[in-house]
Amino acid sequence: MIIETKDLTKYYGKIRGVENLSFSIEKGEIFGFLGPNGAGKTTTIRTLLGFLKPTRGKAFIFGKDVEKEIVKIKEKTGYIPGELALYGDLTGKDFLKYFGKLRRNFDEKKLGKLLEIFELPLKRKVKGYSRGMKQKLSIVQAFMHNPELIVMDEPTAGLDPLLQGKFYDFLREEKKEGKTMFISSHILMEVEKISDRVGIIKEGNLVALENVDSLKSKKGKVVKVKTVEEIKIRGIKAKMENGWTSFVVTKDVDAVIKELAKYTIEDIEIGELSLEEIFMHYYR
């Protein structure tokens, strides 16, 4: 077991951060941590990594209590913070040099490989970096000491689709080496591409813990249709607003479309179920 939490709870004074989180992550697993903004993803990560003291409950990484042995834990852990705050006055090279010296297992070879994938203007000062470059630097530093566990808080924010692809390929390679990864995101599509298992957090509580495959089965389409007549389709709960009818189709799309064909359609929109809608539909 790489990560294990038992009733992990964090309150900021009276304000709820996260409540009674219990989950565990196995070695070699990519765990997607999903939730809308403000659900408690960052609070969970920062509590796991010792920035915040739990109000109640326990968290262990590599079997070590995060409240007691966080320095030892960090020797084998990489972290991509959600806030892209790097030392702007340093050049990319100096930044990596500085952090390389603070990491015990810093690995020149690994760094070289990372810089091949995530090219960076190393001679330029970090404050002149674009958001994407900063995110790349953040990725490079998290992996350069060959950690066993990498905790990532919204790591693809700021990466263009091409780089996102490169990043996922890189993560798959890392997984083959037995690395364990914890990735938070508020975008389901993103996490399901790469994760083995997903935890869904809502208002500070873990509402689901599922394999990606079973989550995928919960996919669906949101159908919004504007019709002249009022729509009534058997087995579907629809919402009506300004002549638009919207509903979620999870199973038999074909049947629904054929049913819809009986009406006079003025306009139609069909979209992927967003994470929020999955929450609404499945975990209410």
Binding site: Y12, G50, E75, Y79, E83, Y87, Y98, Q141
Partner: protein
């Protein structure tokens, strides 16, 4: 030591500028001394006792060059102004990392928070030493230029003790730095604390009634006039400054270890 070295690299420019400003100030003060000399005695005699102790704690012998330097330069320039400068930068070092959110990156490394506090402190020490090595050289050079002499041993002691005083000041600033997330607030409160200590010390000299409150002031344990003019250096003062530094650093480290680092 990496964090300390990084911290020195970050702050040496500021310290150097400050040093140059102090040298400029000192040259100005010393340049007018030959012309001022004869008036100073008369002026000193005409002042009431209360004013004397407000200006400087000891050594109001203005006609002696040591007395002049003590009053015009060391008491407010060194003890107060330099104290304020070092409390200002030391109260920024950690609060700035929290405010700028770089603390997440820094603490992603296998370093304890106590080590961060200690290394940030060590990163301030070279600046403290630099000003205390450079200044006596400038003092001696300038005095030679106007044909005045000074006891080199006690000038050395003045700056030797000053190192411990400024270290205690840095430790005080660091304590503020770990408590407050906003750099400005940490700065203002730390400067308020050192200025308050200065006032407490003056008060304790002015009135018997307040003599006890001076003892809780860091400034009470460093009086350049006492060393430079009266040629006495109390080993106990230096030891007390070391203890104050150690206690403040320990408090800062313990507080920093225990607190939540929330970023919003």
């Amino acid at each position: 030591m990496r964090i300390a070295i990084h911290s020195v690299k970050n702050s040496w420019k500021g310290t150097l500028i400050l040093l140059l400003l102090f040298i400029g100030l000192f040259v100005m003060i010393i340049a007018i001394y030959p012309n001022m000399k004869e008036f100073l005695d008369m002026w000193a005699e005409s002042l009431p006792e209360v004013a004397l102790s407000t200006f400087g704690r000891s050594g109001f012998e203005l006609s002696m060059v040591e007395g002049y330097l003590n009053m015009e330069f060391y008491q407010w320039g060194w003890v107060l102004t330099l104290g304020v400068y070092f409390v200002f930068i030391s109260s920024s070092v950690i609060s700035k990392e929290i405010e700028n959110k770089t603390i997440d990156m820094l603490l992603s490394n296998p370093v304890s928070r106590a080590r961060v506090v200690l290394e940030k402190f060590l990163g301030l020490v070279p600046g403290v030493i630099l000003v205390n090595v450079a200044m006596p050289i400038v003092v001696l050079g300038c005095l030679k230029y106007i044909n005045e002499t000074i006891d080199v041993t006690y000038l050395f002691y003045t700056h030797f003790a000053s190192v411990f005083y400024l270290c205690a000041v840095c430790a005080l600033g660091l304590l503020f730095s770990v408590i407050f997330d906003e750099t400005k607030r940490a700065n203002v409160l730390a400067i308020g604390a050192i200025s308050g200590m200065y006032i407490m010390e003056i008060l304790s000299i002015l009135s018997e009634k307040y003599s006890a409150i001076g003892k809780i002031s860091i400034i009470h344990y460093y009086d350049p006039g006492e060393i430079l003019v009266h040629k006495t250096i109390e080993a106990s003062d230096v030891v007390i400054l070391c203890i104050i530094t150690a206690v403040l650093l320990a408090a800062a480290a313990i507080y920093f270890e225990k607190r939540d680092i929330a970023i919003s």
